[in-house]
Subunit: 190 residues, 2 copies
Amino acid sequence: MSPRKSAQEELTKTAIINVARELFVTSGYPSFSMRKLAKELGCSHGAIYYHFKNKAELFYEIVTQDFLTLDCVLEEVLGTQTNSNEEKLYLILFEYIRFGLTNQPQYEVMFLIKDEEIKGYLLEAPNNSYLHFANAVASLAAKPLTPKDIWSLFIGIHGFVTHYCRTETSFEDVKQLAKSHVEFLLKAIK
Amino acid sequence: MSPRKSAQEELTKTAIINVARELFVTSGYPSFSMRKLAKELGCSHGAIYYHFKNKAELFYEIVTQDFLTLDCVLEEVLGTQTNSNEEKLYLILFEYIRFGLTNQPQYEVMFLIKDEEIKGYLLEAPNNSYLHFANAVASLAAKPLTPKDIWSLFIGIHGFVTHYCRTETSFEDVKQLAKSHVEFLLKAIK
DNA sequence: TCATTAATTGAACACTGGTCAATTAAATAA
DNA sequence: TTATTTAATTGACCAGTGTTCAATTAATGA
């Protein structure tokens, strides 16, 4: 009945992203749908497709922010004062787990999802994210580490996050376990 | 036009499971649908619901077989002659990875899927499977291990399988990497 | 004022899992 | 053998999904 809204209430990419983000973070990826998002935005579902090619592109743009956040987490740890490099290395792994478990829906899309369309968009992002991680780890280790060692460290914490994402456990609930898991992994490079 | 087929071509639970299994193992969980399965079986999709309450129950019955297989893998390793317990422990972790990556669609449903309905059916199975694993590991370790240590070992290999499931990498392609990852994890309990 | 452009709508398409009344073959009882 | 009951199957139907697109209309520029 009324195609095209008045100028003030026109959709913008960022408005869509913000509401989508809110919806997806609070109720998870599986329950998210373009129609629910449209309802939340007060527009028709078709309108969203004027601003985003498809669902995958929308999620790519949402999650791009989270890759930046993850980089910041890493950078922040590198910037903090610690008693030793060993402690800093510990913190990197620990804070990675914290990030994963306090941002479970995002972590899922960033590193877990099998959806081919979404993986198509996320080609470099997870890789770049890993490279940052690997560089940080390499720079802090007491002994020189092989690339395989660093990869094993990553896979080790990735496994932790993955498992507790699946069971939707909060970070607080496994904080102590995370601590000992990180300590476990670090024993391997002692 | 012809409800109820002649006796010879009546559906059976096992026939459905077998075809479903084939379909799901070859083309993966996301592409699986009850309607495609019905087409493959040469029946209507409604008929399947006479034999299984829903999709989750069907998958539960499929994957129950795989939990048995995984138990067998473990039992087989425990039964083989090795030079040392250390080698046997190595084999347990390595063969777990092999199982996961040569049965990726199944591993996904067994340990990765977030679908609440499926998780409802798989309450004890993954847990029991882990207990077997944990007992085996505990019995083989040189030093006594804490439950946390065993859990970290599991989470460590789980992370490996998870990652290469997502990228749909074959076991053969990461066999060497799996070897070094297991060696890495075992260093932590040396 | 009027043509052009940009943004929105909602019907439509091809899917999904799931339900259920109607139908009919097979099994059982008379 | 015939009638009746039971078991298995069908396919229309429901509510939902992502996606497309002709039609519509507000805003913009000439």
